[in-house]
Point group: C2
Chain length 436, copies 2
């Protein structure tokens, strides 16, 4: 029986997922990110140390183990890839070269209530850069370029990366005279959920804001531009603060680098803050055209204080693609299609059982040259063997004979062929994924 929140794809969907993952991986590697996999489990204390809500963690225990393990021995499944990565860096910092650029594509688990595009087990694809002591800011500008290249390599709707910088918000709130900037940030973060009026009321009530201060916070949150003009609009609000200036300069650098790389890729969206506590500067989200109502499909940001060993800090910046979320939404709208449900490019027809050795030799010759080939499972009339291929979307059926022939079952065209030299057009070698 299916288990709610634990999605499983059918073979055709899995081929689409694989091709998406291949593109993600190759793009990450083009930018020099090295692959890493961490274990699925972490000690409970590690999982709970980063300000995450505790209710979403899955704990493990062995069926036959003694009851009541001590809390420090309890293991839980990781709920993201950033916390395990920070732990890995601290644990192995003497063996790594810094700055350390890594990508990590793994399942994560959260015991939350499932809904469309929200799962209890799901696949994430993360990149992060960490360095010892300080991390140059230009790595913050690289994240949108990598994500943009990934998305432009996929047959999916246009993606816009939304960027902001917590220093802008915090500096602005401070410059306004609001001391509890964290509380203001948390309140403004609810804007999309509860609307501006309730946010204004909450700011007055919980953050000690005047009506004018609350209105200024909302005016800041309204700013949204695809170029550097956001900075002038912020300054026009008349608030000054050194942290605000620093944040605006950083955000400008992210927006300008992205526009140089691919115009329209990013949008400075000053209302986004990200729920997580550990971000300290740049933050990222991504909206997919036509799927905005389902929320962001990437998330990330700069974290200067997530990992440390003694007095040594390991600041980092990273971004995570919600792969299961993205695919779940696209599959839900039936937005993607694939040309076949198997990797097989050629089926060798089997006229009678005593000719299987001959057919196996043909298949071996084709496989040696990288052409995925199956021999028909049972001897049958050729019509049935064409049907075997057709049902799976396999484009070619090979007929052993003197000479051998190969038939493109889509066009019906049949030509003489030699298993030592014949090759399909490159476009037929692997299944083709496209937008429907």
């Amino acid at each position: 029986m299916p288990i709610s929140g634990f999605p499983e794809w059918l073979p055709s969907q899995r081929i689409i997922e694989q091709q998406v993952l291949d593109k993600i991986r190759s793009t990450f590697e083009l930018y020099g990110y090295a692959s890493l996999e961490t274990r699925a489990v972490e000690p409970l204390d590690t999982l709970l140390s980063k300000g995450e809500t505790s209710k979403e963690v899955y704990l493990l225990h062995r069926l036959q183990e003694e009851e009541n393990a001590k809390r420090e021995d309890q293991l839980g499944l990781h709920f993201d890839l950033t916390v395990p990565f920070a732990r890995f860096v601290v644990e192995n910092n003497g063996k790594l070269q810094f700055p350390f650029k890594r990508y990590q594509i793994q399942k994560v688990w959260r015991g939350e209530r499932p809904q469309e595009g929200r799962y209890r087990e799901f696949l994430q694809a993360d990149i992060d850069v960490v360095n010892r002591d300080t991390l140059p800011f230009h790595f913050d500008t690289e994240m949108p370029l990598v994500i943009g290249d990934v998305f432009r390599s996929l047959p999916i709707p246009e993606a816009t990366i939304l960027v902001n910088n917590r220093k802008v918000c915090e500096g602005f709130y401070r410059g306004l005279g609001l001391a509890d900037t964290a509380q203001v940030l948390r309140t403004v973060d609810k804007l999309d959920k509860i609307g501006p009026e309730k946010v204004a009321a909450a700011l007055v009530e919980t953050a000690g804001a005047t009506d004018a201060q609350a209105a200024a916070c909302l005016a800041l949150a309204e700013i949204s531009t695809t170029d550097g003009s956001f900075a002038d609009r912020v300054r026009a609000l008349g608030v000054t603060d050194p942290l605000l200036d620093e944040g605006l300069a950083e955000l400008l650098q992210v927006v300008e680098t992205a526009n140089e790389h691919a115009p329209g890729l990013v949008r400075a969206e000053l209302k986004i803050a990200r729920g997580l506590d550990y971000y300290t500067g740049t933050v990222y989200e991504t909206m997919l055209k036509g799927y905005e109502r389902f929320g962001s499909i990437t998330s990330g940001g700069r974290y200067d204080n997530l990992a440390s060993v003694g007095n040594t800090r390991f600041p980092g910046v990273g971004i995570s693609i919600g792969v299961s979320r993205l695919l779940g939404l696209l599959f839900g709208q039936d937005a993607l299609t694939v040309s076949r449900s198997v990797p097989t490019c050629v089926v060798v027809a089997l006229a009678s059982d005593d000719r299987r050795v001959e057919c196996d030799r043909i298949a071996s010759a084709l496989r040696r040259r990288g052409i995925a080939t199956e021999v028909a499972p049972t001897a049958a009339k050729f019509g049935k063997q064409i049907q075997y291929a057709d049902r799976r979307g396999i484009p070619y059926v090979w007929f052993p004979g003197e000479p051998d022939t190969v038939k493109d079952i889509r066009s019906g065209e049949q030509v003489e062929a030699d298993a030592a030299t014949w090759a399909p057009p490159a476009a037929d070698l692997h299944p083709n994924v496209s937008a429907r």
Copy 2:
């Protein structure tokens, strides 16, 4: 802190693992196996229904959930990929094309005591074929060919696939007059652990064998040949039984097909039985030359009764490569090496911070043509930038100028180059894995 039994590879080891997985995947696909991933969890009842020992299962519960979930609601992590696959086939049989050939490369978890090459979390790579009602025997002959092709594509010691057939053993025991063939099989399976004398004694004691019958069982278990001569040696023991004849004919077919494909690939080893109860015919193991003391690195066999819906059975045959086990053993002997610890092929040297845009353009041009490129993280003397590349094993450093030049830091050779056209030799494009 590391957790015993939950291995994590360093970046260089992970690159080796990735290349091994790429070879496994491409070989599986060349034979027409389609990728599948199942969720990491199964209901406890599913996990315990196949005769597996219960103590190795990891159960899940949410940190904040109510105590004492009913047993049918309890979820556990899968301990292999065959049981989840059988469940998936039953659940989705109306949506699949049969015979269904799938591969599955995923982590599995077992709460066993860790030892060298034995983990609590480990990666397996499985292929299986299932069909509705009956499955042609020739699929049993395909498994060793696929595994042989995988192993011959890797820079690892020679692998020998050991094959047997439970029908040979059961038919022989029955023909000998021993009724409790399962008990005989379980006892003979301990041969390597407790030796022939204790096995003989146990056969007399627990399976009701006479000394002569016990001796005959041991004589059968001693037979080991790389060609079809095992059949004559079995017949020379003077036992006859229809099931024995069927088993010998099947085993002969496996050995002959493998010898036609790659001489020396398999060995008929009549003592192997595999612990699992669900195998009904062919069984497979694999020994790696020089690593025999660590046991088998693949396992599998024919299972005719693992999955069914009403009166419809789904017989199957499959084999599983213990990827973490294989790599753990090879890493433990330091047997593999890789040319670099990052995917990066080229580092673009940065003379001063104001030239970063120019360097980024060069990097983009190289990436567009599939060449993994990083820009140096900070402006520094060129000696330091060469050191950055050298420490990671990156072969090329690019110097922007008029004209640009690129230096092979291994040979010291430096040549003029244009980012729009220059390419490294194919052998330098990706990290190279080799035997040390």
